[in-house]
């Protein structure tokens, strides 16, 4: 389905999702977390595939890339979100876990259009709740 055929939902203004900010929205009972890192907006299902804790509390980090034994190579700066419970790493670009492409968080299409942060959804949600969210990160 192309972006044109998808349902367009304005989540908030760009001003309301500045660098490091986080927002939480619930669509038909499913929580979606949004955040901005290094200028880019990301949206993802707010539930870790492991034991279900809310991903929106996760740290946005870089990580050590697969490397030769006994050698550390840092990369993917602020492209990884780490689950707030056990720390599984997921790519914010693809949703895939660093340890296996078979494990992932669901990512949603999100765009910054003018002054609006817009989610593109497969279908129109029946209920939309913008929720209060605060974390120390």
């Amino acid at each position: 389905m192309s972006a044109q055929e998808k349902h367009r939902l304005v989540v908030c203004s760009a001003e309301e999702l500045r660098e490091g900010d986080r927002r939480l929205i619930e669509l038909d009972g499913v929580e979606i977390g949004l955040l901005r890192a290094e200028g880019t907006c990301y949206a993802f299902r707010n539930s870790c595939p492991h034991q279900g804790v809310p991903m929106l509390y996760g740290s946005v980090v870089g990580t050590m890339l697969p490397s030769q034994p006994q050698e550390y190579v840092y990369g993917l700066h602020n492209e990884i979100i780490r689950c707030p419970l056990h720390g599984w790493e997921f790519s914010l670009k693809t949703g895939k876990a660093m340890f296996s492409p078979a494990v992932s968080i669901k990512m949603y299409e999100v765009k910054e259009e003018g002054d609006e942060v817009v989610l593109y959804l497969d279908r129109q949600p029946q209920s939309i709740t913008r929720k209060q969210f605060a974390c120390v990160l």
Partner: protein, 370 residues
């Protein structure tokens, strides 16, 4: 005794020949070390009974409490200790079990954890030459692992270069010191082991002996029972170290055979390592697959002393559960007290699994040319 279990080939991966007396080493040992060890013409006689009056071999601090701490049915006719007579061992064990090959891991052959590394190195070379000369050459079914000095990798590499290409040598018996097996310290040894297609064998011997002995995780055991049961912890610790340090990424064809540390503990070790790696992989970014995949690919386990759950089939189910059918190596541990008898220990193993354990797995895990 006759064999009741039918088999289509048997490789016994752990048989122990012993020296009757350290003087057996005299023909193979430099005079300087004979003098250090007070053997041959340097015997100290009565002074040997003095505290610090003469050399003491680093024997175990944990004495086996049984009346006869070796198989009491394995004394050779000359009355010497079990495991000291190559011809008798060949008939008592190999003929009886129809063993194709027996891998000799020298008993008390090691001074790996001894404080004087140069003495240990010379002793180790002499022990290798004694084992090769007296035992391996005596029967075509004998193969041997060679000892090395793990505290001195450069010397260990030299020793492997000296004798490691001999076809009768099928593995490197490294022994455990207080440096975990994954550390870079050992990598020169792993490099040549992989190049020579020789597995590293780890077998208890130094635990609780020399000054460089590995600890038991918490502190000293009080009894032999406590010591013996805790050996699995040392195996476990070393498996964890090998995988986490990236040894099997760097040396993908290296095999490490843990003999006599038990094996059922590998199931929870795999589960726990896999779980931790999913969260902590960035600390060991060179570990690129699930830890259990490296363990299955590169690590093997001797069967003896086989674990004996109340319901024997539980053990078979555990092996199937973790896909370890290709990882187990038959070991009798003859003539030690805790050995396993072929016809009884594997009664509950399905035939196909038994054949793997008895023959195929050892053949694939040691450098044996049938």
């Amino acid at each position: 005794m006759t064999t009741r279990v039918k088999h289509n080939g048997l490789i016994d991966c752990d048989v122990h020949p012993v020296l009757s007396d350290f003087n057996e080493l005299v023909p193979y040992l430099d005079e300087s070390i004979q003098q250090y060890m007070n053997i041959g013409k340097f015997a100290k006689g009565a002074l040997a009974k003095q505290n610090s009056g003469s050399f003491k071999f680093p024997s175990s601090a944990y004495a086996n409490p049984l009346p006869v701490p070796l198989r009491a049915d394995a004394f050779p006719p000359n009355g010497d200790i079990p495991g000291s007579d190559p011809a008798f061992l060949a008939s008592d064990l190999l003929d009886r079990c129809q063993t194709d090959f027996a891998i000799l891991n020298i008993g008390h052959g090691t001074m790996s954890a001894f404080h004087n590394v140069e003495v240990a190195a010379k002793y180790t070379s002499a022990a290798n030459d004694w084992l090769y000369g007296k035992w391996v050459k005596s029967d075509p079914r004998y193969r041997m692992t060679m000892e090395i000095t793990p505290l001195d990798p450069a010397q260990a590499v030299q020793e492997i270069e000296r004798i490691g290409k001999r076809p009768e040598i099928v593995g490197i018996n490294m022994h455990c010191v207080n440096i975990p097996l994954g550390k870079r310290h050992y990598w020169p040894i792993y490099e040549i082991a992989e190049a020579y297609d020789l597995p590293i064998v780890l077998h208890p011997d130094t635990e609780g002996t020399g000054e460089y002995a590995a600890s038991f995780g918490v502190g000293p055991a009080s009894t032999y029972m406590e010591w013996h049961t805790s050996l699995g912890l040392i195996g476990q610790r070393n498996v964890i170290s090998l995988v986490c340090e990236g040894v099997f990424e760097r040396f993908p064809n290296l095999k490490v055979n843990f003999i006599e540390y038990g094996f059922s503990w590998i199931a929870p070790t795999m589960w726990r390592m896999d779980k931790n790696w999913k969260a902590l992989r960035h600390e060991v970014p060179w570990v690129k697959m699930l830890p259990s995949e490296y363990i299955r690919r590169n690590i093997r386990f001797g069967t003896q002393p086989i674990e004996e759950p109340a319901r024997p089939k539980d053990l078979v189910e555990l092996i199937q559960m973790i896909g370890a059918e290709h990882m187990l190596l038959f070991c009798s541990d003859y003539p030690h007290w805790d050995g396993d008898e072929l016809e009884r220990a594997f009664l509950h193993f399905p035939g196909e699994l038994r054949h793997k354990v008895f023959y195929e797995n050892p053949l694939a895990s040691f450098r044996i040319q049938p």
